[in-house]
């Protein structure tokens, strides 16, 4: 028992430096083996089911797929050039850009406005819960609900009829001029609650002193918001913005369910375009190439976030 309890220094004195080093190495090797046994299920699943498929996707995107032959030809960048000659690709790209811009601007502007409005107000919790409510429905259920809200005899047209005084029967989800805006409204309805809650967490964590000092020095509420609250809130705003951009960029459920009746479905976004080309038309290689493009864009956004986060952290220090 006493031997097991002896310290490194005592051991060193008894048997010398080499033995200590050897013992340390043996201990490390033993620990690594034990740790690997613990990490094995996670590693095997992540590599086998997630990372290998990503590699396979890259491989597929530079091959040609032919019926009955499979992926037997090297295509190089051919699939990527095909995107340039597909008119649908550019429509999907443009729509995705609109989606990203809208899913960044509206949830953040409205979420911030509501956070500032509700904060400290009477019944604050009730208002917060009501705006957060849509978030706890499944996105598919939200999409199904809004299909009927937008139906020709649905809720939106009924409200317009009450306001305008004559019958309205717009097929919001069946015409090009309204479908994207309509689905964005649903997206905003669903996401603003979360954005608001996250911004409230950020607002409540701000230091009180600078705001109080500015108020005593005679700054108007707007001035202290613009020059003190907003800069302090920058890290939270950045995190929320990135969440919104990525959510808007890869949104699938809402578009797929709500756009199902729209003839130009595949142009709704890049994610839908990729799904359509691969799973409905069987263009596996072409679809893989589109997936790689989506991946590159998402990775650059994530990289940009890490870079900005680093900058902000440095500035705060």
């Amino acid at each position: 028992m006493s031997r097991r309890r002896e310290t490194d220094a005592q051991l060193l004195a008894r048997i010398g430096l080499d033995a200590v080093a050897r013992r340390e190495r043996a201990r490390q090797n033993h620990n690594r083996l034990v740790a690997l046994a613990f990490m094995a299920p996670a590693l095997v699943l992540v590599i086998g089911v997630l990372l290998v498929p990503v590699g396979y996707n890259l491989y597929l995107s530079v091959m040609n797929w032919r019926k009955f032959k499979g992926f037997d030809q090297f295509a190089g960048a051919g699939n990527y050039f095909d995107m340039g000659s597909s008119p649908y690709f550019f429509d999907a790209l443009a729509n995705t850009a609109i989606w990203v811009a809208a899913s960044l601007a509206f949830p953040i502007a409205i979420g911030l406005a509501l956070a500032l409005l509700f904060r400290g107000a009477r019944f604050e919790d009730a208002f917060k819960n009501i705006v957060f409510l849509p978030r706890i429905l499944a996105p598919t259920a939200v999409a199904v609900l809004w299909i009927y809200v937008y139906a020709p005899h649905g809720v939106v047209n009924r409200i317009l009829q009450m306001v305008l005084g004559h019958d309205v029967d717009i097929g919001w989800l069946y015409q090009q001029s309204t479908i994207t805006a309509s689905i964005i409204v649903t997206f905003v309805w669903q996401t603003v609650g979360l954005v608001m809650v996250l911004l409230l967490l950020g607002l409540n964590a701000l230091p009180k002193d600078p705001i109080e000092a500015a108020r005593i020095d005679g700054a108007s509420p707007f001035q202290s918001f613009r020059h003190i609250v907003l800069p302090l809130l920058a890290p939270t705003l950045l995190m929320v913005s990135i969440l919104c951009v990525l959510a808007g960029f890869t949104v699938f459920d809402l578009l797929w369910v709500m756009g199902a009746g729209y003839p130009g479905l595949r142009t709704l976004s890049l994610a839908i375009f990729m799904y359509f080309e691969a799973f409905q038309k069987g263009g596996w290689s072409f679809g893989s190439a589109v997936a790689v493009v989506i991946g590159l864009i998402v990775l650059s956004v994530t990289w940009l976030q890490a870079w900005l986060q680093h900058r902000i952290d440095q500035n705060l220090k």
Binding site: R32, L43, V49, L50, P53, V197, A291, I294
Partner: protein
């Protein structure tokens, strides 16, 4: 003290208070309007599920229902026509097994990453973390083709395999941060008493990490329950369909039924995540804070 009272301008104070009171009424009015706007679709949902198909087609979408009884018929029709028995039990299986195994494996991985000393941890962590950086679109085609090749496309096993894997990286990240904050003295003491590594993991570290494990389990369960994308691609056969997939298929083919039935189905499909949210609100909010999801 008297001098301070002398300098107080009571008129100004009263004016400021009156303004504050008026602005608080304005805040209340605007907040109430916003809430009304947000609740309108819910109001429509609630009145609709209490109407029969006939009543729905002949009434105003905002009109209150004539009685409460039709919801029973709507539920039965929805349950049968949307094959919700399959959908609900499949999704419960996928969510329970997928999120459960994922959090267990993540806890084991986090143990290996934080409670033992050796070199090369960063590489292993980055490998697992890499599972969070790619968009879902990059998994779809390869998984569909590979699943087809080895014959697990449209099987419950294939679905559980994928859901377990996709749900591992995020809990690993959370539990690694959490476990690295736990003191290691207890581990050392137990080892000294002759406890094996598994005992240390199961008896000492796991009980201490129960909170974040529950939070991440709930988040991942809800994610699996709500997932439409992967269940459409990897499990599109009637018997293995997830609840969201069943709902979408039902909505697309509702020729025989009306919005009242489809919306009843949508509400039933959302019930488990609604219940989970209200029952474990605190954990859910904790999870939100941890993840920002």
């Amino acid at each position: 003290m008297t001098s301070l009272v002398d300098t107080l301008d009571f008129d100004a104070i009263e004016k400021r208070e009156r303004r504050a009171r008026r602005s608080s009424w304005a805040v209340l009015a605007v907040s109430g309007f916003v809430s009304l706007l947000w609740l309108t679709p819910f109001y429509y949902l609630v009145v609709t599920i209490f109407k029969t198909t006939d009543e729905y087609t002949h009434s105003d979408p905002f009109a209150p229902p004539r009685g409460l009884a039709p919801i029973l018929g709507n539920s039965v029709t929805a349950w049968n026509e949307a094959t919700m028995a399959y959908g609900m039990s499949n999704s419960a299986l996928y969510g329970g097994v997928g999120a459960g195994l994922a959090v267990l494996f993540a806890a084991m991985a986090a143990y290996g990453l934080t409670r033992l000393d050796y070199r090369g941890k960063t590489l292993i962590f980055m490998t697992i973390f890499a599972g969070t950086v790619f968009p879902f679109q990059m998994y779809l085609i390869p998984l569909f083709l590979l699943y087809g090749k080895i014959g697990i496309l449209n099987t419950r096993f294939g679905m559980m395999l994928f859901y377990t894997a996709i749900c591992i990286p995020f809990p690993t990240l959370v539990l690694r941060n959490y476990m690295s904050g736990l003191s290691r003295e207890m581990d050392e003491a137990a080892r000294m008493e002759g406890a094996g590594e598994f005992t240390v993991f199961a008896r000492i570290v796991l009980p201490n990490a129960a909170g974040p494990m529950v939070a991440t389990f709930l988040l991942q369960f809800t994610w699996i329950w709500n997932d439409l994308l992967f269940s459409t691609v990897l499990g599109n056969r009637a018997e293995v369909r997830s609840i969201m997939n069943s709902l979408q298929v039902f909505q697309g083919s509702y020729a025989s039924t009306g919005p009242n039935v489809v919306l009843t189905a949508a509400l039933i499909a959302s019930l488990p995540s609604l219940l989970m949210f209200f029952a474990l609100r605190r954990h859910f909010m904790e999870g939100l804070k941890v993840t920002g999801l």
